[in-house]
């Protein structure tokens, strides 16, 4: 194939020289910025004024970046030391990011793979597959985006979630029904009707097939999918946004204003007084009895991260420092790393991802220009990507 090699090597390409000149200006600016910004460690980050990193400003001058210049001017400043691109993850594993045009897998070395045109996605237990939904179709994908199996339904589907190891079940919503299919795409069947538009949550215990889901009436139910036994039903709550399990095996229900914890019988263990001006925008269970949540204050337009210990009896309590990070706008999608040492959060107002070192957010690693990162060739002005999982303990990245 000498001819092929020669053709590939010497065929004239459009704009090669000009592109080199423009790119060098951007790269050089990023390099000088890297030298000028010493790393800082702070336990409580102040809200910052508007700013744009020099590298991003330089990038905005080049043709690929020019179109993003306008909206960059309007965003809030995030972490000042943010990386201009997601170069690597601070912990092993793979991060799943559901962007406007579909999900991406990011490995620990920063390499990315676009999986295709799916609206939502989540990992299988060991990260060997991703299950995605698009329109009326549920599809299991290899990590490089090749479909493994696909299932078509009459109605629109969403929120597919794979059961814990060995991963024999996948639950998903079709309209206001909840359905379950085997991990190989067979045996699709109805599990429940009258469910709320909230993702179901599997109890994260190996070999168990206990699923919690929110109903349209505001209750949350947990059932053993294989036996059909109902294990708990919670009292009603208003505006359920998220259901998850704590590491202690409690059911957590995040509503717009509160985080409600229920024991294995569904009894309410904790419902703090609703903070009138605060909105609970995200929550994540941490190792042990800890829970981290993000409170958004409309008066100040700030989000604060709070960590408390919730033991299942009595109110959750702060042990040691409990308020760690404060930033302008809203944070969302708190996601725990597989090694349980980091939490990542989306920060749409700053167009950044924040990686927060646990237990006390002693270190923050940020990456900026996130919309554009997950919209290659686009303007970068679309919806901010959603964090859909960080997997897996055994993944080397």
């Amino acid at each position: 194939m000498t001819d092929l090699r020669t053709e590939l090597e010497f065929a004239p390409l459009p704009g090669e020289i000009e592109a080199q000149q423009r790119a060098w200006r951007v790269v050089e600016a990023a390099y000088r910025e890297r030298e000028q910004l010493p790393r800082r460690r702070r336990s409580l980050r102040p809200v910052l004024a508007f700013a744009v990193a020099a590298a991003v400003a330089a990038a905005a001058l080049s043709p690929p970046g020019r179109s993003v210049g306008g909206w960059i001017q309007d965003r809030v400043a995030g972490e000042p030391d943010a990386e201009p691109a997601l170069v690597r993850l601070p912990a092993p594993g793979m991060l799943l990011v559901a962007a406007e045009r579909g999900p991406w897998i990011i490995r620990s070395d920063g390499s990315k793979r676009y999986l295709g045109d799916y609206e939502d996605a989540s990992f299988s237990p060991q990260g060997r597959f991703v299950v995605g939904t698009a329109g009326r179709r549920v599809t299991a994908l290899e990590p490089d985006g090749d479909p493994r199996w696909s299932l078509a339904r009459p109605g629109p589907v969403a929120d597919a979630r794979w059961a814990p190891s060995p991963g024999f079940r996948v639950a998903y919503r079709e309209g206001d029904t909840l359905r379950v299919v085997a991990g190989d795409g067979t045996g699709d069947h109805l599990l429940a009707r009258g469910v709320a538009p909230v993702a179901p949550a599997w109890l994260p215990r190996e070999g168990r097939t206990v699923l919690a889901y929110a109903r349209a009436d505001g209750t949350v139910v947990a059932v053993d999918v294989d036996s059909g036994a109902r294990l708990l039903r919670t009292p009603r709550a208003r505006r359920v946004r998220e259901v998850f399990w704590t590491h202690e095996g409690l059911v957590a229900v995040r509503t717009q204003r509160e985080l409600r914890l229920h024991d294995r019988r569904g009894r309410l263990l904790r419902a703090p007084a609703a903070a009138v001006r605060r909105e609970l925008v995200a929550a994540v269970p941490l190792p042990g009895a800890w829970i981290m949540y993000a409170e958004y204050d409309r008066r100040t337009n700030e989000t604060q991260l709070v960590r408390e210990a919730c033991f299942g009896r009595g109110p959750c309590i702060a042990i040691g420092p409990s308020r760690f990070f404060r930033g302008a706008g809203r944070l969302r999608d708190l996601t725990l790393s597989p090694d349980r040492r980091w939490v990542v959060a989306g920060w749409p107002d700053a167009d950044q991802l924040l990686f927060l070192r646990l237990p006390s957010v002693g270190k923050v690693v940020a990456t900026e220009d996130v919309r554009r990162e997950f919209d290659p060739g686009g303007s970068g002005g679309g919806a901010f990507p959603r964090l859909a999982g960080w997997c897996c303990a055994r993944a080397s990245g």
């Binding site: 001819d3 590939l8 890297r34 590298a55 690929p64 970046g65 676009y114």
Partner: protein, 182 residues
């Protein structure tokens, strides 16, 4: 063309120590191949510039952690080609969305053919392949990596790389032959 191994290691060390001139030497040694590789996969000048530029930005940010004993080129090529595949996939999706929105009668601004792009011969034939097939062809026959190296770069089984190479070469041969006969 990239400098020899000693030059390159010295440039990496120099850039890590804060020398912008060493970084520039590294950039100029690798830009042309990075841009060309990106173009051969995405077939779009702005896209290739975007992909190659982002790869170098990633390199700058990872410079402190880069092991200077390893060659810089393969590491950069991996980033370039993976980003190029993603870019091409995303563009294909955008076209589908545009088509569904019934605006496909007007070509998208970044749609090929690029007015100034080479239009004949092997490049046009390459454009008929999927981005994944183009990527293995570019890695093998332009950047001259072995199938094993390509498998590691793209995180694919080696058999998949070989089959994509075979299918890619078959498709290229067909198109080139038809061109020749026409």
């Amino acid at each position: 063309m990239a400098g020899d191994g000693r030059d390159e290691r010295a440039w990496v060390r120099g850039a890590q120590a804060g020398s912008a001139s060493d970084l520039e030497a590294l950039f100029r040694a690798h830009w042309a191949r990075a841009y060309r590789a990106a173009y051969l996969v995405v077939h779009d000048a702005a896209g290739a510039e975007d992909v190659a530029q982002e790869a170098f930005l990633a390199a700058v940010r990872a410079l402190d952690r880069f092991d200077g004993r390893r060659p810089f080129g393969p590491w950069l090529h991996r980033i370039v080609v993976n980003r190029a595949i993603d870019w091409a996939r995303a563009r294909a999706l955008r076209r589908e969305v545009l088509a569904e929105a019934a605006v496909s009668a007007v070509p998208a601004p970044d749609d090929p053919p690029d007015a100034a792009a080479p239009s004949a011969g092997i490049l046009e034939a390459l454009a008929s392949l999927s981005p994944e097939h183009r990527a293995v062809i570019v890695l093998r026959y332009f950047l001259e990596h072995t199938p094993g190296e390509i498998a590691r770069m793209l995180e694919l089984p080696r058999g998949t790389v070989n089959s994509r190479l075979r299918r890619g070469l078959d498709a290229l041969a067909d198109v080139v032959e038809q061109d020749g006969e026409g």
